[in-house]
């Protein structure tokens, strides 16, 4: 019998489930809609059905050692309860107990950005270095921080919410209700918002053409494409986001003195145009002794990161 681990990546629109072995390779998958609008019960049934579908596809030589669930937070790892997940409409759902009762195996729950950090650390760009900051830059900014080879959870499992560090007092309004959070300045959403605002003010740009005049369709990928084509506004907006990234990540370097920063999420797909200036700019943003020794890597696991990270939760 070979040990195998189930990972559930629970998102606002889809549930991705996979079964994998201890190399982090995914052997079997299932993806289906979350259907959050149908209520908590329906979403839980979809999770169960997705896990069942994966189990049915497993070969007879595989023994399921546990189920890990990566979920939007805040949640309690120790209690296995998702306290609140606005995207799912969840309120205090004891998902660990529910799945334990259903499948009779060990179940663990983790914050989605945290488990992604765990996956990159164990099987991806982190290469199991001692201290690592994982940051996912997409709609928001999330973090997974590894301290001495262990995920930083804090006293109530809320640690690592780096997207909500306040970086500009009275800055742009954040979904959390406060202002000037890191993710209002450097996320994909922030890049898109700034571009749309500028276009609406009539700043000349090639972006308008790229979206056939539909300003709402300008996102960070459009900004990156326009920048690559030499559009001045797009370049300025990208540079600004990278500048804030260098300050936010620089502060984390000053605080944690990590070996490595690993950047994932949609915005990391911009690639060298993001990483090259970021590596240069961060040098003047963090304590010299620490920042001169840190490596900045692009995440490796791509869209599998959530499933693999959830698997990691039950791997030891």
């Amino acid at each position: 019998m070979r040990a195998c681990y189930i990972g559930v990546d629970l998102g606002g629109t889809k549930i991705a489930t996979g079964a994998g072995d201890q190399t982090g390779a995914i052997l079997v998958r299932d993806v289906r809609p979350t259907e959050a609008h149908k209520g908590t019960e329906a979403t839980i049934n979809n999770i169960k059905a997705s896990i069942r579908q994966v189990l049915e596809q497993l070969g007879p030589d595989l023994q399921v050692c546990g189920i890990g669930v990566g979920s939007p937070g805040p949640l309690s790892v120790s209690e296995g309860v998702v306290y609140s997940a606005p995207n799912l409409g969840w309120d205090h759902v004891p998902i660990r107990q529910i799945l334990k009762d259903e499948f009779g195996v060990r179940v663990e729950v983790g914050n989605d950005a945290n488990v992604a950090g765990l996956a990159e650390w164990r099987f991806g760009a982190g290469e199991q270095c001692r201290n690592m900051i994982y940051v996912t830059v997409s709609t928001g900014i999330g973090g997974g921080i590894i301290v001495d080879g262990k995920l930083l959870l804090g006293s109530h499992d809320f640690a690592g919410e780096i997207g909500h560090m306040i970086m500009v007092e009275n800055g742009p309004l954040c979904g959390c209700g406060r202002r000037g959070c890191f993710e209002t300045l450097a996320s994909g959403t922030a890049i898109a918002r700034r571009a749309q605002e500028a276009v609406r003010l009539g700043v000349p740009t090639a972006m308008l053409e790229l979206v056939d005049g539909d300003i709402d369709r300008i996102d960070s990928a459009v900004v990156a494409r326009a920048d690559a084509a030499g559009d001045a506004l797009a370049s300025e907006i990208l540079d600004e986001a990278i500048r804030y990234l260098s300050i936010g990540l620089g502060n984390l370097v000053t605080i944690f003195n990590p070996d490595r920063i690993v950047i994932g999420g949609g915005v990391s797909n911009i690639g060298d145009r993001l990483f090259r200036p970021l590596r240069r700019m961060i040098l003047s943003r963090a304590m010299r002794e620490s920042v001169s020794r840190v490596e900045i890597h692009r995440a490796k696991l791509g869209s599998d990161v959530g499933v693999v990270g959830a698997m990691c939760l039950v791997m030891d």
Copy 2:
């Protein structure tokens, strides 16, 4: 025989050495000038003499288990070397080996703010809670961060330099060469600088009288006294520093989800006038789930914190 531990608090102007037992009580002390201007050799000889003086006063029932040294950094805990300490004029001094050769016992070295955090965690206001942020607010701002009951050192022992988080891009110039660091906005020096600047601009204030017209003598204690007497300028400056403290410490709460924040250093002597608004303001500056569960305490160990913290380095 009773175990006893030597702690050396190495500062730019004085060396304080103590011997204590495992309750953290200091039994014997010595204080003498650092004499940094006389060179590294002279300072090292002063440290040795101070330790010898303490050893001579020890009763015959006490067995010295080790010597801990708290030093300005950056330094390497694992190598026992102080890389650079501008206040001491030190450059790559292997202080651990030097003291080991001299006294033949275990020697450990730690960053001064780090060991102060260790002392408050073990014997002071931290009460050995699981996760704690110690912050000393005086000339600069230093930190000692306890994660799961262990001092956060990072990969090269430079972690916890919270005074150099950049909080205002292009803010006031910092001693580290960058701009807008936490300590340029919320330290005792920052409070004094802002008060002196305003007075020089002619803003009416009672502070001028408190220092007999000598503007250079306005420090954070003078600002606090003027504030207590109802001086509007002093109140505004104090409020501003507290606002920045709430943002900086709020960010650390969002990142670490600690049980407790412990604040020491000269500025903490302002007392309730600092702690009351800080506790209120931080609630809107950090992630709700984390900040609603954090306690903010004033440090307990006073001026002994450096010696006790150095002792802690050799206590296990």
